[in-house]
């Protein structure tokens, strides 16, 4: 770890000193330009590299404060005050549009932000009296600062930016961001307020652009509409990928490489763009994880490293589940729930209750509505009618993440964050449930949880190295972390070997004994018969039977509907 910090610092110093090494084309001016563009790229790295939002509006946020400052100057304000107000207004605007943009999935976000860039560029061009129009808005500020001072100023800004980035992307936040980037749905189920965190990250990333862009406008002295446009945004996306997506120094290395390559290839006159293209393509092809990736293992851990001596986890008993008073309290109450997709009645008037200390199952043929019902309870779908009470509170219309403290859910195919360790995966959920606890306390709790599930030997392994069966058990341990009264388990036995199945049965029995209410969907009928207490049988979205597990599995109608369909 310290070696890495030293290496990064050394690389940083080398890059900072590079304009003084006498390399061709690497001037102080290029250094200034690089540092300020890189500052904005660091922000884009937060948006795209860390959160996974492919956004093409970075250049617009770079230009906006300058334009706002210019307009305010024309209204009689001094330019520095105008620029400061412009910065604040830009951040307010970024926060406002983030609310819209972060809800757009994948390509639509790219298109939406691309459009935003064009709108800003178009407006800058359309009102020349206010914005200088196509000819450009001239700033007379910072003229007395010499080139070397400008370079130092830009380096300082970049240094602060990198420090801010490092402070943002660490600990619980970094784990949360990784979870969102990898799988928004699973992150939400773990209790992450995905929209809010994406909007925050988008705003913070735009702030880097706004500050870098304002300094750049002052350094250059002229702002033209193209500065806000798609070419620069595209260039920024390209440079951070070239440097190394999601790494601290990636944006800086990428920007320096692109700017320097541009100058050096310029010596080749007519062959300039060809050389630029060849070099860019070669880097992309032979360094798919970016230039920084060539020197670094593909690991991004955001939690505790394995300590030399095994730490003593908090004893599992120290966090007892809410005691189940004589096993009769209703933890989940599904009341007359219906879900229609267009004209299709996927779920039609289903009601049941699940009490503390029991395992409840939903059975039925494929397409009977089990998955839909599961999704309705966990909030992934919103019911058309009816109510879903967890511990007495109606969650039917509530967002997914609000259920997390009361409910854990596992997935048919475990949805873990592959680049995090097992421990970190569990910590992501605990982070959300216990926001007040310290990093060490969360880690201890996560370790205790793994110990309770006999998984402590995997705690510091990266999830991607483990088997599918191990993933399932980890997913279960994670869902049960924080001891939620209600557990939703989607096909927990699928893909498990004989030994793992036994392990699972033991774990479920213990969870039940601790007073959890457990709902499972499971195709392995023998397993269901063995562990479940009660259940409901669904057919075409309707409940056709409910009650004791032995009774419903023996029911004639169930046999016809369920086993008939299976054979």
């Amino acid at each position: 770890m310290t070696m890495r910090i030293i290496a990064s610092l050394a690389l940083g110093c080398l890059m900072a000193a590079s304009p003084y090494l006498g390399l061709p084309g690497l001037t102080v001016g290029l250094g200034t330009l690089t540092a300020l563009l890189a500052l904005s790229a660091v922000g884009l790295n937060l948006i795209f590299g860390v959160l996974g939002m492919l956004a093409f509006g970075q250049a617009a946020f770079m230009s906006l404060p300058g334009y706002m400052g210019g307009v305010l100057e024309k209204l009689g304000l001094p330019l520095p005050a105008g620029l400061l107000i412009g910065l604040v207004l830009t951040l307010a605007l970024a926060r406002a549009v983030a609310e819209i943009f972060v809800r757009l999935p994948g390509m639509y976000l790219a298109v939406g932000t691309l459009g935003f860039g064009f709108v800003v560029e178009g407006l800058a061009r359309a009102f020349p009296a206010w914005t200088g129009g196509a000819s450009g808005l001239v700033f007379s500020i910072g003229r007395e600062i010499g080139p070397h001072a400008w370079y130092l100023l830009s380096l300082a800004a970049l240094g602060l930016g990198l420090a801010a980035y490092a402070a943002i992307v660490r600990g619980a936040r970094a784990r949360r961001f990784a979870a969102i980037r990898h799988d928004e749905l699973s992150a939400a189920v773990m209790g992450v307020d995905v929209v809010r965190w994406k909007a925050r990250a988008f705003t913070m990333g735009s702030a880097f652009a706004a500050i870098g862009g304002t300094l750049l406008a002052c350094y250059v002295g002229v702002l033209v509409p193209e500065n806000a446009g798609v070419n620069r945004s595209l260039e920024q996306v390209g440079t951070i990928m070239l440097g190394g997506l999601g790494s601290l120094l990636g944006p800086v290395v990428g920007t320096l490489a692109v700017q320097w390559l541009f100058v050096v290839s310029g010596y080749a006159a007519a062959y300039e763009l060809l050389i630029y293209g060849v070099a860019f393509l070669a880097t992309v092809l032979y360094a798919p994880r970016g230039i920084v990736g060539l020197f670094k293992a593909p690991q991004t851990t955001h939690g505790p490293a394995q300590p030399a001596a095994t730490p003593s986890p908090v004893a599992p008993a120290s966090v007892p589940p809410a005691p189940a008073p004589e096993g009769s309290e209703v933890y989940l109450r599904v009341q007359a729930v219906s879900k229609f997709f267009g004209g299709v009645r996927a779920i039609d008037g289903v009601s049941f209750e699940v009490r503390a200390g029991e395992i409840f199952t939903m059975v039925g043929p494929n397409g009977a509505g089990k998955s839909t019902l599961f999704n309705l309870i966990s909030g992934i779908e919103t019911p058309t009618a009816g109510s879903i009470l967890i511990m007495g509170r109606d969650f039917a219309q509530a967002p997914i993440h609000e259920r997390a403290p009361l409910m854990g859910r596992s997935f048919q195919v475990a949805r873990l964050v592959p680049e995090l360790t097992v421990l970190e995966n569990v910590m992501v959920r605990l982070d959300q449930i216990f926001p007040a606890l310290s990093e060490a306390q969360i880690a201890a709790r996560a370790l205790a949880q793994l110990q309770a599930f006999d998984l402590q030997h995997l705690a510091y392994r990266q999830v991607r190295e483990l088997s599918a069966g191990q993933h399932k058990l980890i997913d279960l341990a994670r869902a049960a972390a924080g001891d939620p009264p209600l557990l939703l388990l989607d096909e927990p036995a699928v893909g498990l070997g004989e030994e793992e199945l036994e392990h699972l049965a033991r774990l479920l029995a213990r969870l039940r004994a601790q007073g959890s209410a457990i709902v499972i969907v499971e195709h392995n009928i023998n397993f269901v018969r063995r562990i479940a207490d009660r259940g409901v049988v669904l057919d075409s979205g309707r409940p056709i039977a409910s009650g004791d597990i032995a009774d419903i599995l023996a029911d004639k109608a169930v046999q016809d509907a369920y086993f008939g369909a299976l054979t």
Binding site: L104, Y108, G112, G115, M241, L273, F374, I380
Partner: protein, 288 residues
């Protein structure tokens, strides 16, 4: 002259080009999930080829055919040489490769054609057609007719034919498509050939009415993306996307002036993106 009629003619011509670009982009996207940022380069490669070949004194028909062939080969080469060995990489890396391919193409075209714009003669020569207070050149009529016919044919091919459905299945779930016995590599080859051919066709039809230079590609990629986004990346709607982009550009310019074009069109685009995704709660990963 009637400004409304003229706006319709102008919008139809632009719309034909956008539809061709959009459908090519969507075909490739539908088979590979990769937004091809080098797509507009098929237009640039085709147009510059036609310009250079015609400049050597060869018949304009041969120049046009050369443009179609070269554009198609170009798109196939990008797919087979650059993309095929790297399908396992994350989508974002693949998109970056297409961007790098676009840069390289621009460099090659600059060496091949210089910085001055090129053009070549129209395939359809004759006095403009005057109707309802507007005028449209024969080449423009051909652009509208051939452009929309080709775009509609490809869209029908994708939506209605078994091969087209296979193409689309490749993108929905490549693993499942493999299991169903679909040769996904062959599907991607076909898709890139179609995309290249349509990009070349757009160039052959449009460039004689304007001009082209080495850096025309990126602008065309963007317009294709916008039209495709308006169509919600749906092959069935690509023609509608292209047409609505062309016509709305023309009408905004007519009634509010060219300076209003970008702010208005792109505000509409953002609105469309928000509307199309209003029912999606989380980044497209709804399968639970």
């Amino acid at each position: 002259m009637n400004p409304v009629t003229q706006a319709i003619y102008s919008g139809l011509m632009a719309g034909g080009v956008y539809a061709l670009l959009a459908i090519g982009l969507i075909v490739a996207f539908r088979t590979s999930r990769v937004l091809n940022l080098a797509h507009g380069e098929t237009f640039a490669v085709g147009g510059v080829t036609a310009g250079l070949v015609a400049g050597m004194g060869v018949s304009k028909f041969i120049a046009s055919i050369a443009a179609l062939v070269v554009a198609m080969l170009y798109a196939v080469a990008v797919d087979q040489i650059l993309m095929k060995p790297r399908r396992h990489l994350p989508i974002s890396s693949l998109i970056l490769i297409t961007l790098a391919a676009a840069f390289l193409t621009r460099g090659v075209l600059m060496v091949a054609a210089g910085v001055d714009p090129l053009s070549f003669p129209r395939l359809f020569v004759g006095p403009p057609i005057r109707f309802a207070g507007g005028a449209i050149p024969l080449q423009g009529v051909a652009l509208v007719a051939i452009g929309f016919t080709a775009a509609i044919c490809v869209s029908l091919f994708l939506v209605r034919t078994p091969l087209g459905r296979k193409l689309r299945a490749t993108a929905e779930n490549p693993d499942a498509a493999e299991l169903l016995g679909i040769d996904t590599d062959r599907m991607r080859l076909i898709a890139s050939a179609i995309a290249g051919l349509l990009g070349g066709l757009a160039a052959v039809l449009l460039v004689p009415l304007t001009s082209i230079d080495y850096q025309a590609g990126l602008g065309m990629t963007l317009r294709g993306i916008i039209a495709a986004a308006l169509a919600g990346m749906s092959p069935a709607l690509a023609v509608v996307g292209g047409l609505s982009l062309g016509l709305s550009e023309a009408f905004v310019t007519t009634y509010f002036g060219a300076l209003a074009q970008d702010p208005v069109i792109f505000a509409i685009l953002i609105g469309v993106a928000v509307w199309q995704t209003r029912k999606i709660r989380f980044g497209g990963s709804q399968r639970a």
